[in-house]
Assembly symmetry: C2
Homo-oligomer: 165 residues x 2
């Protein structure tokens, strides 16, 4: 959970602001009732904080909603029970899959409105990886070192910020 | 404290390992008994974790040591009471000052064994900035967006990793 919340903060926060043009999708497979999908919609969020502990409370509240019909459990936070493929299809339309050994992000032409897919400290399962690749994802790497998700996201944002994407 | 611990993790951790060639200096001005200086020496650390909560306990233990004589409070963790200038002089020998508007890191020739100086969500005080600049610090920026310390550190590491520095 801490790892997910750190990654979400890397995706959503700058020094003094929220990135309102970002949407984060958290896909959770942990017990007791997986799979769960939580969307954090930057321009609608109101109580997201640099402090991960207060955000943990918002995510726990979202996890109480286990219906397949998506529900807004807090402003800008949408929860549902959804498969990995369903989660991908609510994001998109184009995909970039961050994976060691992929084409260097610095050489990448970023598709419009792209969703960047990355896993936590475990790699995607083979069937998850196939689901991403079936959606024509570009496979992209960030450099020679294996990183935590939050570190990888900071590097991607920096690359996109430099291009004013 | 959370902000410092996140920054330390960005500096010290890769996906599955500790960066043993990194030394982190944390300079703390908070109550009750500032200033405090804590060094985290990568190759000597033994119980540093991705989980910031367990690291918080190590830092709190270090803060119990308020002598001006540095003491190793846990393996690889060295604590003392020290001024900002004393802290800088225990790091070095060359300095890079990360500041918005500085010369782009991608164009930077990194000095050998450089110490990267950055502040939390408040800028350095004018006298602190002068202390850094008196030590011939290069003033370096990371791109167009103001970032949190942990995000900035991830971007710097990525740049250095790409050069195998």
């Amino acid at each position: 959970m801490d790892l997910l919340l750190s990654a979400a903060n890397s995706a959503l926060l700058t020094a003094h602001d929220l990135r309102r043009d970002v949407e984060v999708g958290l896909f959770l497979l942990g017990p007791p009732d997986p799979p769960r999908f939580i969307r954090l919609v930057g321009y609608q969020l109101r109580s997201w904080q640099p402090d991960v502990r207060s955000n943990a409370a918002l995510v726990r509240k979202a996890l109480e909603h286990a219906s397949r019909v998506e529900h807004e459990t807090s402003p800008g936070i949408f929860a549902s029970k959804a498969s990995f493929e369903e989660a991908l299809d609510r994001l998109g339309p184009s995909f970039v899959y961050l994976k060691e050994g992929g084409k260097d992000v610095r050489d990448l032409l970023v598709p419009a409105d792209a969703t960047f897919v990355l896993s936590d400290n475990q790699d995607l399962a083979p069937e998850e990886e196939r689901a991403v690749l079936r959606r024509d994802a570009l496979v992209v790497g960030l450099g020679p070192t294996s990183l935590h998700a939050d570190q990888a996201i900071s590097i991607v944002h920096n690359e996109l910020d430099r291009r004013h994407v």
